[in-house]
Structures are given as C-alpha cells and as structure tokens.
Symmetry: C2
Subunit: 620 residues, 2 copies
C-alpha cells in the first residue's frame, strides 16, 4: 500500500517538509492548510514541487465546522468551501478532510448533517474533489467513527466518504472491529497515529502527544487489520501532532516516521522485510579517544588487559573474560574527549542482520577497513552510535578478532585470560572459566544518552531493527532535571542497552555514557580496583543510613558497601550491587553484580549516583 | 506566619537549595529525603548549615506505605521509622510527613490504620518527633483530607496530627470548607501548591505540573482562609514538583516562590504590602543598540522624529503622537545588536509603585543618572527588562522628559508634532491632535520573549508587582516549534505587554522582541512607510486567498492588503489590521489598527507571520 505523511507531522517550511518526506521514501503527503498558507509558493508551484519530488498530494486538510448548522451559516460555509475546492484544483489534489464540527452553532441533528454534507459533496464533485468526513474525538455531536459513518451512509453521496484516524478511534476506546462493516470504497482516507496511554484531556493529548505507530500504547496494527479487511486500498498516512517533532529536524523525523510505517505494515502482513536477527551478546564496545592513557589506566584497574592490536588501525583490544573493549585513537576521535562510539553485536548472521537494518532505513556505514580485514557489516543507530554485526569465535563465520594481532600481556597485578582465539562459545553472565574472585566476566549493559528529539525513535529502532525488547521507561531525578531511561534487551539478558534522555532539547546526547561490567564478586572487584589506584565514585554516608533503614543487611556487609561506595538494590527476583568509576571524557564504568534473576539497573539508586557525579565536577 | 519551602521545589544540590531558600527570605525548609541521601553532608552538618543560613528545618519528608498493613509488614515499617526518627534527631527537626499508603499490601481498615499510626506516633514521641499524616490524592484507601483527619481523630494521639496539602485537596475537588472543623493544633503542617487545570492522571499532574500559588488554576487563597480559620499557626510551606523548576536555577526559582507566597498572604490578609500602582500607559520603550542608524531609518520611515537628546547620556528620543522610543547607544548596548532593554511605565505614583515592587522582591535598579537628572525609580522584570516608573507631563511630579534637550526636527517627509513639554495629558489610542492620516498615535503593545524557565514567573510578576491583568495563554505554531503567548494589560488597554515563550529551554529569551505602534489608518501608514524606503514583511499570496474564503472583504480592500502585506483578523468585538517591518537586531516593529473593541493581537495570523520571518533569514 502507498504511504503518506501529513506535513503537520514535520518541522520547518513546507518545502523542507516535502523534501524530507520524499527523501525518506514516502509516496505522498497530506497538505496541512497552515503550511500552505505560510508558503511563498503558489498552489501550482507546490504541485510542481511535489511532482518533481515524486510525491502525490493525497489529502488537503482540514475543513472545520461545516455541517449541521443553520442555513445562513451553511451558506457561508459553502462559500468558504468553494474557495478551498478551487485551491485544491490548482493544487491537483482530489480529497479533502472535513472534521466533525466543534462549533457552538452545530445542531445535534444527523439528518441535517447528512443533508449539508451531501450538498458539500455536490459542490466538491464539480471540482473533482471527494469529501472525507472524520469524527474528531472531541467533536461536539459526532465524536465516534461509527457515528460519522452512519451520517455518511445515510447521505449516500458518491463524493462523500469517511476518513478514519486511529487516534480519534482508539483514544475514545471505540472497538475498531466495526470498521469491517464499512464498505472499503467508502473509506476515503486512513490517518495513522499512536500515542502514549495518558489519562488526559483528549484534545490536548491529540494536539501535543501523538507519536508514530509503535511508539505509543495503542494497538494501531489491530486497527489497521480491520481497515484492510474492510477493503480499504488508499494510502496509509501518518498524521502526528507532537511538540517534540515540531522542534526536531524534518529529515530524521521523516525517516523515523517511515520506519514506523514499515514496521506496522510488516506486522499486519502488508510488507515483507528480512527477518530480524536478534543479537546474542555484546562482542565489544568501542571507545574513541584522543588519548588512550586515561582510559587504559581505568581498564587496567578494572582487571582488563590489553591483549591485541588491530593490524592496520590504531585500535587496541582490552579484554577480560568475555568483556572486550576496543580503544581507538584513530581520526574519528574528537576533541571533546573519550566517548563510546561503536558497539559490536554478536550476531548469528551478520549479513542478514545488516539487510534487516537496511530495509528499515538504518544508514549503512562504509566498511572502514583495509583489504585484508574481515568484512564487518555496520549501521548507524539514531544517536550516531555505530553498530557492528559480528561474530566471535564462530567456526563458520569470519571472526572480527582475526584483524587483531596479540600483544604481550602486561597486566601489572595478575595473569589474564589468553588472547583470541578463545575456545569457549560465550555464556553470558557469572563465573565460568575459573576466573579469580571479582574478575570481570562480560559487559552487563551499555548506557547511551540519546538526543532529546530521538528518544522514541531510538526505542523503536532497537526493537524493530535489532529485534530487542523495550522495557517500560522510568523517570530518574537528576539534581538538575528529570531523566527518562528505557532499557532494550534480548530475551537472555545478554544484550542490555539502557537508552536515557535528559530533560530538554539542550541535552543533545553529549552527556555521559557508560559501560557496565559484570562480576561475580563486586566487593573483591571494587577492592582490587582501589588497591591498584582506581578511584571509585564516593557515595554519601546518608545513603547507607537509609539502606540500613530499608533492608536488614548484615552490619559487616553494610560497612563494606559504605567503605567502597557500593550501591544496593533488591526486588522480588533478586539482588543487585553496583559501583562506579570516575568519568573519563564522556564515559564512566560501572561494576555490577546480579544475583538471583534481578533484571533492573538499580534505578532507585540513580538520583544518589547522579548527585555524586555532579559533586565530582569542577566547583563553580 | 512563617514561610517555608520544600527542597524538592528547587533545583541543584541540597546546599544550593538551602542557600537559594535563605537568600529569597524563607524562614524554613522541608527536607526531602532524596536530597538528604544525595548530600555529602552529615545530618549534623546539614543542621548547622541551616542554622547558619537562618533556616529552621520544619519538616522531614516523606515516609510512605506505613499504615494499615499486616503485622509483620508493620514491624518492618516501625524498624524503618526508628532509623528515620534517629536521623531526625540528628537533623534537629520535629515533624515528619507520613503519606497515606499506596501499597498493594494496605488494607481498607481505618481502625487498623489508626492503631498503627498511633503506635508510630508513640515511637516518634520518644524521639521528640510529631507525625503529620496526609492523604495523597491517589492513596490506595485514604485519598481525601477529611478521611485522613477522621483516622487521626480516632487515633487520638498527641504526637499524631494531619498535614494538609492544597494540591491533594483541590485536585480531588474536595470542599476545603471542612478544614475549619479540624482543631488548628491538630493541623501539624500545611503544604501549598497550585496547578494548571488539566484533565489528567492526578499522580502525573502532581509529579510534573505543580506550580507556585497564583500561577495555576486552583483557589489556594480560599483554602488558606479555611486553614487560618481552623486556627493553624504553623508555617506556610511550598511543595512544588515541577519539571521546569527542576531545571531552572535555584536562586530565581526561590525568589519566584517567595513572591507567590507574599501575594498569597496579602490576598488573605496575612501580610500587608504597599498597594499596587497600576501603570496608566507606556511612557516610552527604550532600545539599546551599538549602531543607531539602522533603527533610526526604520523609525523615520514609521513617521517618528528625533525630537530630543538626553542631557548627559547618548540617548535619543524619537516620537510621534504619544509613541516615544528612546534609542540608547551607551555602554549597555551589547554586541548581539539592537534590543528592547527598558520600558517606561506611566505611573500615577512612581515612588509607591517602586515600593510595591521592592516589597515583592523585584530587584531595585541603581539610578543610572547624573546629579541633575530627574530621579527615576526602576526595577528589573524577571527577564531582565528594566521597568521605569515615570511620569510624562504631570504638573505635580518630575517629568522624565526634562532630562532631554530638544533637537532640530529633521523629519524628511513631513512636519512632526512639537517636542516636549506637551500640554495634552495622554489619551491612549486613536486620532486626537490633528494627526495626518496614518500617523502613529501611541505604543499599542510590546512583545517580549521570556526565558523558558520563567514564563509563569513573568505573568505573576506583572500581575502582582504592576497590578496588570493576565489574559489566558495561547499556543502559537511557529514552523520550528510551538510558542505560548500570554498578554498582561491594564483595564483601559493603554498598557499591553505580550509575554511569549519558545518551545524549549534553549529559548533563553534572546528571540525577537517587538514594538507595536497604533495608527488610525494602517493602509496610509504602511503605504507611506514603503514610499520612504521602508521594507514591510512580505506575506504569502496564499494567506490572502484564505482571507477571501474566510471573510467577505471588499475586493479592493483585499487587493490593498495583499499589496502591502497587511494581515487581518475579526472577532465579535471588532477588527484588527496589522503589518510588520523587517527585524533590526532582535527587534521589529508592527503597525496595528484596532477598530471596534477588538482586544486581541491577531494570534490567528501568527503562524503565517512567523513563517514569513523565518523565510527572511539567511538561507542555509
């Protein structure tokens, strides 16, 4: 089916919007009246611009407060409509959206509504225009889709049909099954939007909080199935009013929009995409830095060793157990210091994973490699993080580690695991291969702060492109504003990525990122880290007094946590202990010990940790 | 009565919050548990810090999920409480807030709740602590203040009382009159917060959208009267959870908070402040600029003349009718170009106006003047705009214009009105003293973009300090994000200031400002402006096609508007015509013609105007 997007869903001037929609691959647009009014282009020029861009104009919208009004008022409305139909002829578009009236003049009289809509359709027909009548969720007398359809049906005019909008239908809690009773050819248009499930005034909800399908809480796919069964074959069009998208750049928003439609189409069998290939683990995390030494010092204190160096690039491999960290001092390193630039995702089928990503509009990255290097498939996540689909120690597939040459192990404190190739096939999590107590075993999770405008996009990206599961988002109180955090994981928990977003658009994603390393014995790990000169984030004593109030912890245990700055959490499944290193550039490390099925990230402790990190910053 | 503020209402570390509260003049604070947990100071150090700052610690908060639970659970709760009471002893605070339980374990059993709260109060008493039990609006079984009070009453424990919170009471729609039935000495604490009237989930509403009294839609004053009548004599304490305040600087937020309490106290007769002195008109608007010439060119084309120059400062007076604009090239001019830095408010009693402002914590500005100058009282508005309280041509009061010396009139196109002193005593608005058609008569309104964090503060400031009336705020769609705009006016409409705020914290108030000049004949004014070389903002032709659809305007009239770029609006009261100059620095001018009793600002046209202004910017 053809795809379309309402210009009101994108930011900028009309021509910016059209360009972004075309680039993202939409087939058409709905033109929102205010966008046309504010454009210096004539309707004919807009028509030509759309044609150049390969876009059809699928809808002109909206006309308001037309029907079920006294005769003199209706005469004025017809006069206004004639102007708009004339405009539509110049624009070359054949369908107009008429919203159910919210006017105080409107009468609760379906027969009058039908008669006047019929007259309107008569007039429209003369201009080659069809009228699509839609129930606004807050319409004065007509607020449900079945009511709007009953009026359209009784009018019985060939140029009058209905427009369905998933927001208006689902926000009212209407059962979308009844859509199947509408003849497909009388559904003149379908507008799709999702929204978070908020208990709020429906008008405000609609105007400010709509989002793209799959980013909210509505069953948009279920609704679409009913519409398809009804026989609708017009465009699938996104109409999303959203305060965030209004400020975001139109280009990325349009890509996000179209990805959401592709996922929706796939979910109802309207599009066939390559299957998702769920990553099985984190092969590596890659830091770029203009100076390897500060990072190296922390990694060394964490018990990792530099085991290998890339054959052709200034990239070191540090590892311990299955935790692998690349330190890249190449030209991509920026002056703003150390940052987490790439993630290697352990993939059962890297090529298929990349094809999936590409089909969902993820930018495919050029293979930055020398001719002899193992080919690595890579795409960019919405925040710019590079995602490599790769394999470690897989007999049938190329191993990214073969690009690395072993170096002399130089761990100052103890011997380390042998360098690649390693025999073990990767069991995420605890203990395992005879690690010394407190040894790091793997990467527990990665935390990435997202650009403010792209938080919802990021969650949908990780779900749809990578096949990860998105947990509920949680609010976290930083001393200087509320954060939101949402984790995406695979079913085993061997891939966990926490996506965070700051309190406002100034938070452009340049905040801290972190790498959490798992250990089976955090006390031993923290102690050793300190013994070799590492500095752990100091946690206030008041936190431990509160811990004593909340949990009946052993006195000695509590004293140890207090001494080392270890935070503690417990839920119905298990326990979680964690502590933090100081920050290098944008990056810090966390040591975590999960016991007994605990699935969270210690969100309860985040305000204290954030305040402690602020306290470490240079004083004003 | 003493005033207090909850630390959760302010941004930053605990010590930042305490410092801001003390500087704003609060007597005490409520300490929010998470702020204490995150502080590196011990409870004793916090106590000492508060004492140094002259702050009492009026409340420790909150304890949650205490009452009406099975015995084993309650035993754990008492254990937890003992830790907290011990902490409170170290902190030196005597009252703890206990919120009604939201726990799934809580039973709907008032007798059990009373018995357990009584046990808790017994324990508290041993530590010199009183328990203030409060109904959360979303409490599991106890969600109204009268219910909480009935439990407290039946417990009958001397160390158990109730805490009243205006948000929890008013958000539920409870009648606050029943408060008078509670003995004053059993009201252990009073928390005050306002909120905009939103139909949304009450928990989300409370956590994110509370605001200071007078900034929302609740009748907080009415509630306070009932509490005072009940005999309460504890502190008036602000507890405001707000996403904006969390990001704003603590210092200004604390001042805003305390101003709101002062206004509230005044409104119920608990504080006596100097009466407001409502300004009668705009005496002048002052632009600062590093280069007077571009501004002068626009003013000249608008028909204003340079009539006088300040005796001791590089300030020119431009005027026409009662529109007076100062152009200041002095050292306050910044490199970011021309901006609107000060407003002269025509005041019936400048000294009294300044005393009012000072009593409401408006920063009093030093009198930047030479010994011979007329003393001008001035304060700073929240956005930094200087407000001068002054008089023009008032026989008994010093006239600011006497600091200016007339210069040779040099209007190139026509003779201008004589320079000050003028005899007329100032009738705002139309025609008057034999103006040529299209002459500017006065300043119709000023529009100032506010820093994002201070929009609500600005409205309260203008209402309370200046005695202006605040209209409803309206959303305006800029192509790159939603604006909100709210006008403050005097009753005659001779002072109108439109406060606008951009879509996010990046909008720090450096966006455009404008000066709207009234004329009785906008067509003549616009035509003459163009004839002498002025450039009006071009408005797209599509706008006029829409105007033709919406209004039955005369064809010739419409053609004139189209030619000149004049925008049109109409409401039940009258008509509004307006057009815009190009922007100089941050400032542009608007010409407006109001007819009939039109009171608005053409908000309907703002999206087209904003898009047209964006289109004038340098291309990317």
């Amino acid at each position: 089916m053809r795809t379309s997007i309402a210009t009101v869903s994108l930011s900028g001037s009309l021509t910016e919007k059209l360009t972004a929609a075309a680039r993202a691959g939409f087939d058409g647009v709905e033109i929102f009246e205010n966008d046309l009014l504010a454009s210096p282009l004539t309707p004919e020029e807009i028509r030509a611009r759309c044609a150049d861009l390969g876009l059809t104009i699928d809808l002109y919208q909206p006309m308001r407060d037309i029907e079920a009004v006294p005769e003199d008022e209706f005469a004025r409305n017809l006069r206004r409509a004639r102007h708009k139909f004339e405009l539509m002829r110049r624009l070359g578009t054949g369908t107009v959206l008429v919203c159910s009236s919210v006017s105080p003049l409107a009468l609760d009289d379906d027969a009058l509504a039908a008669a006047q809509l019929s007259q309107l359709a008569d007039l429209a027909q003369g201009f080659g225009v069809r009228v699509a009548y839609e129930a606004l969720a807050w319409g004065r007398h007509v607020s449900t889709y079945d009511h709007a359809w009953s009026i359209v049906e009784s009018a019985g005019h060939p140029a009058l049909g209905t427009c369905l909008d998933s927001f208006h239908i689902l926000s009212r809690g209407s059962d979308p099954k009844g859509i199947e009773d509408i003849p497909g050819e009388k559904i003149f248009f379908l507008q799709l939007a999702d929204a978070p499930l908020l208990a709020m005034d429906v008008l405000q909800w609609s105007r400010h909080y709509r989002c793209f399908p799959g980013q909210g809480g509505f069953d948009v796919a279920g609704l679409l199935r009913h519409v398809v069964r009804a026989g609708y074959d017009g465009p699938l069009s996104l109409e999303v009013f959203n305060d965030v998208f209004r400020q975001a750049e139109a280009g990325p928003t349009a890509v996000d929009a179209r990805r959401s439609l592709l996922v929706l189409q796939e979910s109802v069998g309207l599009a066939r995409l390559p299957d998702p290939v769920v990553p099985a683990g984190i092969a590596f995390a890659e830091l770029v830095t203009p100076d390897a030494e500060p990072v190296a010092a922390v990694l060394r204190a964490l018990g990792l060793s530099r085991t290998a160096r890339h054959r052709s690039k200034p990239v070191d491999l540090w590892e311990r157990g299955e935790a692998r960290i690349l330190v890249n001092t190449g030209p991509t390193a920026r002056r703003d210091g150390t940052s987490l630039a790439a993630i290697g995702l352990e993939s059962p089928n890297p090529t298929a994973a990349a094809r999936r990503a590409e089909s969902l509009l993820a930018p495919v990255l050029p293979r930055r490699r020398a001719p002899q290097d193992v080919p690595l498939e890579a795409v960019a996540a919405p925040d710019g993080t590079e995602l490599f689909f790769c394999t470690t120690n897989h007999p049938q597939l190329p191993n990214w580690q073969t690009d690395f040459e072993p170096v002399e192990a130089a761990g100052p404190t103890e011997p380390v695991a042998p360098v690649a190739p390693v025999e073990a096939t990767g069991s995420a999590g605890s203990a395992g291969t005879g690690e010394a107590a407190g040894g790091v075993t793997c990467i527990d999770h990665l935390a990435l702060t997202q650009p403010w405008h792209q938080f919802d996009e990021a969650a949908l990206f990780h779900r749809s492109v990578l096949g990860l599961y998105a947990q509920e988002s949680v609010d976290v109180a930083d001393p200087y504003g509320l954060f939101r955090s949402r984790a995406v994981t695979n079913s085993r928990g061997s891939v966990r990525i926490a996506l965070a977003v700051g309190p406002g658009p100034t938070d452009d994603g340049t905040r801290a990122q972190h790498i959490a390393l798992a250990t089976g014995d955090i006390v031993a790990a923290a102690r050793r880290f300190r013994e070799v000169g590492g500095r752990l984030l100091p946690i206030p004593a008041n936190y431990y007094d509160d811990l004593a109030a909340r949990f009946e912890l052993d006195e000695g245990e509590l004293a140890t946590y207090r001494e080392l700055g270890i935070l503690y959490d417990r839920d119905a499944q298990g326990e979680f202990r964690h502590c933090y290193t100081r920050t290098v550039g944008r990056v810090f490390f966390e040591l975590v010990q999960r016991d007994g099925g605990y699935q969270g990230y210690g969100a309860q402790n985040a305000p204290v940790r954030l305040a402690a990190q602020h306290a470490q910053r240079p004083l004003r």
